[in-house]
Every structure is written in structure tokens, then in C-alpha cells.
């Protein structure tokens, strides 16, 4: 096995990978920015090296420094996680040049799939259906794009060539609004990926976002691990994923799985990867892009297949054959993932930062939490707002939804606002329960019930009691501040103990 693995990432995914390494008994190296000294990935690794200041460009995107650290500490492999350097051809190539195994595909496959336009041309050549769009070579100017747009037709999407996760993506309804949207998309793409190139794509209406997880080894073996339905998105950011898709049948699964394997093989793909498709209501499917890396939502596939995808990535990179054949892969039960973001659903989903003073994660049967948050950690404004993934497994989709409800209700995070109430509302929504949703569902048919004009309150008198008791207590405390001596005789025994403890 590898002598030592450097994890070139932060947050929950760095922790996920460190755990897989530890479960192999492989020593690990973490890297961190100045904002992340107390992060879980630094605490869990065997070694940890400071990269630089908080901004990504000065830390987690510093490929040169990272390779230098790997060399100096004797790491013979690097796992890039997702985001940051995971889909940079140059980084994979630089690892190779330094004699370090990049745990992922070959640079050529990253290059082919990483530039969305090349990707489309490549898979089209392997007769995989694609969404109509600007299929030319990269780097089109605004003028070119504005000229081409009417040929695709509106509505259409601007997408970042280097992108993913909805960053640098804009929806365009008409030619008039396109210049401003191009500018902001390029700005966001530049900031997120260091690359402002964008391309255009037809917007498939009523579509579901369904993706196929692929594993491929160095000996030409490739399998698919079923699909994930990621249609619950907001501003093109995935929020909830499930496996299997409630929309899917076995016939379509096999058809899309076979096409996905073909797409991967068209670039001689090795390691774990994901082929994203749009599927319209008539079950026509179109290749969207390939993510040449581990996916945020990989756990739902792990829970229904029993395959440890990160462990398999490491084995493949080490030159092992796949541990599974296609016929070994069986889907069992149902899994759902909710991405817990530090965002306030009652305030336009604005990011929320601060010191987490309490974190109580849900536990018990069928519940998995992948997170880097604990009581006492600071959520900084520098990185992605996703702070945890709550994943549940159930024998059926119904059981999984009920289990997710109880897990969401148990979850306590104090110090930042989270989108947990959004997920709770979604789990109660009849359309979600019925599996009746598409990629526009959140934006077009869903809102937080509290923000509705005609809101229905379930427990107003209980809410009133909570607020009044807290307000009363605060008022008492203020007056006690004046009458200091009486403080210790306060009726409110719940004030005292914790404060004494931390005095």
C-alpha cells in the first residue's frame, strides 16, 4: 500500500478521506490555511502543514506548495477530494512529474472531461447524447457567445468551462439580459476556479438531474454503481440527493449505466468518476458533464451498494483490480443526503459565519453524518458554506424520509444559522414525498412556509411561551445586574451552572 497519503483538501471531505486512510492503516498528511488550524482534518491527520493565509488562492489552491510539502514529508500519494485542485489537469500532471500518485484519473482524462466543451465533443463521438450548446473550442468571447445564443434558443444556461457545483452558472431568459449575466458569471468563475471561461447550453425544461457513479481500474475494467437523483437544487447548487432515484426503473438504469461506462471509456477513464445526465419526463437522457473526481454526494451510493468508494479509489490508484464486478453490485434499500449549509433560509439563504458553540449530531440506526464541525469550531467566511452532510439509510424510501425527519429534528447547531429548516420543510412536502420534482422544483414551486403571505402556524402559543420566558429571563438578568447581590438567589437555576463552570 501507499507509505503516506497527503489529503489536499479541507472540511468534511478531508475528514472522510483521512478516515479511509486510517482504516487502511496508511499514515496521513493534512494541509491547512491559517483559518483552519483547529479544523478536524488537522486534528485527525498524523502530520499537518500550514499552507498560507485563509483565501484559497493563497492556500488550498497553491499546487506548488502542496507538492513541495508532499515531497518533503515523504508522501507518495495525494488525494485531492472535490473542488480546489481536484479537476486541474496541471496539478495531476505535476504530481506525476514529482513521482507522486495522484488518486484520480490521468491528466489527459481530466483535460478531456474538465473542459466541458471538449468533453461534449468526446462523448458525442462515442454516440452519447448531449444537450445542445456551444460545442466549439474553449475561450469564446462575449461577442461570440451573444451571436451564438439565438441559435440555441432561450431559455439557456451560461456555465463555467472549468466549473461545477453551480458556480459561475447563470440562467438567461433573453438576449437583452445576457451581457450583464455573462459578466457576473465570468466574475464568479474567475473567483471560484481561477478561470473565467464560460459556455452556453440549452436549458432542458422539466428535467431531472440524474448521475451515474463509475469505478474504473487501470486494466480496462469499469462498472457503474447505480444512480443518484440530485434534482433538488437551488441556484444550481445541489441540496438533497437520493439513491436510487424514485423516477428510475431497472431498464433505464441499465441503459444509462451502460452509456455512462461508454462515456468514461471514451477518455480511458481510471478511478472514481460521475457522469451527470439531464433526464426529461419522457426518459430521454442527455450527457451534461463528467466529474472526474469524488462527488460530494458519494455516500448515498455507498449506503445502497455497500461499496466504500474512497477505499476503492485508493486501491485503484495503487494498481489493484476492481474489488467488484458489475454483477456484484446490488442496490439495497434507499439513501437520502441533506447538505447542511451555514445559510439562513429565512434570510434569502445568506451565508452565516461564526463560532459554533454547540453541535449535537443525530446518531443511532441508519444515520451517518459526514462533517468537520464540532462544539468550539469557527465557521469562517472563506470557504464553501456546506458544513455537514446528513445521510440516512432506510429499507424503503418511505422509511428513509421518516428517518431523515427524526435526524433533522435531533440535529442542534448553535452559533451559525443553517438550512436545516429548509430540509425539514422539504421532507414534509407532499411533492417530495411523492418523488414528484424536477430541477426547478425548489425555485419555482417551493418556499419556506413562514415566508408565505397566508402562513399557517402550528404551535403559536408554544412559540409565544418560549419567547416570553426567554425575554422575561433576560429582563430579570438585566435587573440583577443592577442588584448584583441577588444574583445567586435567582430562581432560574438553569442560568447558574454552566456559567459557574466557565467562569
Amino acid at each position: 500500500m501507499f507509505k503516506k497519503i497527503l489529503v489536499a483538501n479541507r472540511g468534511e471531505i478531508a475528514v472522510r478521506i483521512l478516515r479511509a486512510c486510517r482504516e487502511f492503516g496508511i499514515p496521513t498528511v493534512a494541509i491547512f490555511s491559517e483559518a483552519d488550524r483547529n479544523a478536524l482534518h488537522v486534528r485527525y491527520a498524523d502530520e499537518a502543514y500550514l499552507l498560507g493565509p485563509a483565501p484559497s488562492r493563497e492556500s488550498y489552491l497553491r499546487a506548488d506548495k502542496i507538492i513541495d510539502i508532499a515531497r518533503k514529508c515523504g508522501a507518495d500519494a495525494i488525494h485531492p477530494g472535490y473542488g480546489f485542485l481536484a479537476e486541474r489537469e496541471a496539478f495531476a500532471a505535476a504530481c506525476m512529474d514529482a513521482g507522486i500518485t495522484f488518486i484520480g484519473p490521468k491528466p489527459s482524462a481530466i483535460a478531456a472531461m474538465g473542459d466541458k466543451m471538449t468533453a461534449r465533443n468526446t462523448v458525442m463521438a462515442a454516440s452519447v447524447p448531449v444537450v445542445p450548446g456551444t460545442e466549439g473550442k474553449g475561450g469564446m468571447t462575449d461577442d461570440d457567445l451573444l451571436a451564438f445564443a439565438p441559435k440555441i434558443g432561450f431559455p439557456l444556461l451560461i456555465k463555467a468551462s472549468a466549473g461545477g457545483g453551480g458556480k459561475g452558472m447563470r440562467e438567461v431568459a433573453s438576449l437583452e439580459e445576457m451581457p450583464a449575466l455573462l459578466a457576473s458569471a465570468r466574475r464568479e468563475a474567475e473567483s471560484a476556479f481561477g478561470d473565467g471561461n464560460v459556455y452556453l447550453e440549452k436549458l432542458v425544461e422539466g428535467a431531472r438531474h440524474i448521475e451515474i457513479q463509475i469505478l474504473a481500474d487501470q486494466y480496462g475494467n469499469a462498472i457503474y454503481l447505480g444512480e443518484r437523483d440530485c434534482s433538488i437544487q437551488r441556484r444550481h447548487q445541489k441540496l438533497i440527493e437520493e439513491a436510487p432515484s424514485p423516477f428510475m426503473d431497472e431498464e433505464l438504469r441499465q441503459k444509462m449505466g451502460t452509456v455512462a461506462v461508454k462515456a468514461a471509456q471514451s477518455v480511458e477513464y481510471v478511478n472514481a468518476g460521475t457522469i451527470e445526465f439531464l433526464v426529461d419526463k419522457d426518459k430521454n437522457f442527455y450527457f451534461l458533464e463528467m466529474n472526474t473526481r469524488l462527488q460530494v454526494e458519494h455516500p448515498v451510493t455507498e449506503l445502497v451498494t455497500g461499496v466504500d468508494i474512497v477505499a476503492e479509489q485508493i486501491r485503484i490508484a495503487r494498481g489493484r483490480q476492481l474489488s467488484y464486478k458489475q454483477e456484484d453490485v446490488h442496490l439495497r434499500g434507499h439513501a437520502i443526503e441533506c447538505r447542511v449549509n451555514a445559510e439562513d433560509p429565512y434570510n434569502g439563504f445568506l451565508p452565516s459565519t461564526g463560532l459554533v458553540t454547540l453541535s449535537i449530531v443525530p446518531t443511532g440506526p441508519g444515520v451517518r453524518v459526514d462533517t468537520s464541525v464540532y462544539s468550539g469550531i469557527e465557521i469562517s467566511p472563506f470557504y464553501d458554506p456546506m458544513i455537514a452532510k446528513l445521510i440516512v439509510w432506510g429499507e424503503t424510501r418511505g422509511q428513509a424520509i421518516l428517518r431523515m425527519r427524526r435526524a433533522l429534528e435531533e440535529y442542534r447547531i448553535v452559533g451559525v444559522r443553517t438550512n436545516i429548516p429548509f430540509h425539514q420543510t422539504m421532507m414534509d412536502s407532499p411533492r417530495f414525498m411523492g418523488g414528484q420534482y424536477d430541477t426547478r422544483f425548489v425555485e419555482e414551486r417551493f418556499s419556506m412556509p413562514e415566508l408565505d403571505e397566508e402562513r399557517v402556524m402550528h404551535h403559536p402559543e408554544i412559540a409565544a411561551a418560549f419567547a416570553t420566558l426567554v425575554a422575561h429571563h433576560e429582563a430579570q438578568r438585566s435587573s440583577e445586574f443592577v442588584m448584583r447581590n441577588e444574583r445567586d438567589t435567582s430562581n432560574w437555576k438553569w442560568v447558574g451552572r454552566w456559567e459557574r463552570l466557565h467562569r
Binding site: S191, P351, Y383, R412, M457, L469
Partner: protein
């Protein structure tokens, strides 16, 4: 101690009787109220029912997050409220709105100018934080004044960015 507690247009008279009892609209209830770990998460057992809620202090109200729903709650001392309404009711309706930064971040753009009239929902500032661009919008129609930041500046949480009057 008696309070008038309002959610939307529903008014409750809540009286704190002693450590173990409150009444809501004159209905007496047994209550056991505890803070969880000294945090603004509270456990309340009220007439045998067990509830838990986050209670956050807002500008002039409380936000209660209870069973996945958020309630904006106004709590007023009954005596004060009586005095105030005798003195002529709402004083500050339609005052100045100060746009404060909801989080630390980088100002990407300020697409309005001082003196410019704006609609409700119009974008006042674009702020980048957590790798996302966030549009800060006007909560009502009015006129922009006192712009205190410009594109490229870093801002702290709760820093005042501009006003709408």
C-alpha cells in the same frame, strides 16, 4: 409579571406566575423550562408536552425556531405597552433602513448611487462570502443615502453599508 406577546396579528397574554407556572390567555399551565448546555436552545415541558426551540434575539423581536418552523415573536411588558399605546402607538414606522452586512465578506459591487430612488427588492449591494455572490436587496421602496462602502472593500459582520430613507 405580565407580557403581551404577539405573533403576526395573534396576541397572547402571558403571565409568569412563578418558577413552575405560567398562564397563557388566562389558562394556567405547569412549565419546566431549561437551557440546553447554557446555549440559546431551550427545553420546555409544558403540561406534560416536551418541546425544544432555538430562541434568537432579533432587532426588536425574538425568532423562535420550533419543530422546523420559525416564528417571529414580539414580547412586550404589558404595563409598558399600555403606556406606549396611550402615548400614540407606533413611533418609528417608515423610518430609515440601515443596510448592515449580514456576514463578513468582500463588496463586489454597489449598483446604486446616493440619492437614487429604489424599489422594494432592488439589489443594493453584491457581497461575496463563502465563495458565493450574495445580493443584498432593499426591503422597501425609498431613496438611497449614505453609501459607506465601495467595490473591492472588505466588510465586517453588521457593518452598516448604506441607508434607504
Amino acid at each position: 409579571m405580565k407580557y403581551v406577546t404577539t405573533i403576526d396579528d395573534k396576541e397572547f397574554t402571558v403571565e409568569i406566575i412563578d418558577e413552575r407556572h405560567i398562564s397563557i390567555n388566562d389558562k394556567m399551565m405547569e412549565v419546566d423550562f431549561q437551557s440546553i448546555s447554557g446555549q440559546p436552545v431551550y427545553s420546555m415541558v409544558i403540561d406534560g408536552k416536551s418541546y425544544e426551540a432555538y430562541v434568537y434575539e432579533g432587532e426588536d423581536d425574538w425568532q423562535v425556531l420550533l419543530l422546523g418552523r420559525q416564528y417571529p415573536v414580539k414580547v412586550e411588558d404589558e404595563r409598558e405597552k399600555r403606556l406606549k399605546s396611550a402615548a400614540g402607538g407606533k413611533a418609528q414606522a417608515g423610518g430609515e433602513f440601515q443596510l448592515k452586512s449580514p456576514m463578513p465578506g468582500l463588496v463586489v459591487a454597489v449598483p446604486v448611487e446616493e440619492g437614487q430612488p429604489v424599489e422594494k427588492g432592488q439589489v443594493l449591494v453584491i457581497l461575496e462570502s463563502m465563495k458565493m455572490q450574495n445580493e443584498l436587496k432593499s426591503p422597501r421602496a425609498g431613496k438611497v443615502e449614505r453609501i459607506k462602502v465601495k467595490a473591492g472593500e472588505s466588510v465586517e459582520q453588521k457593518q452598516t453599508l448604506l441607508s434607504v430613507v
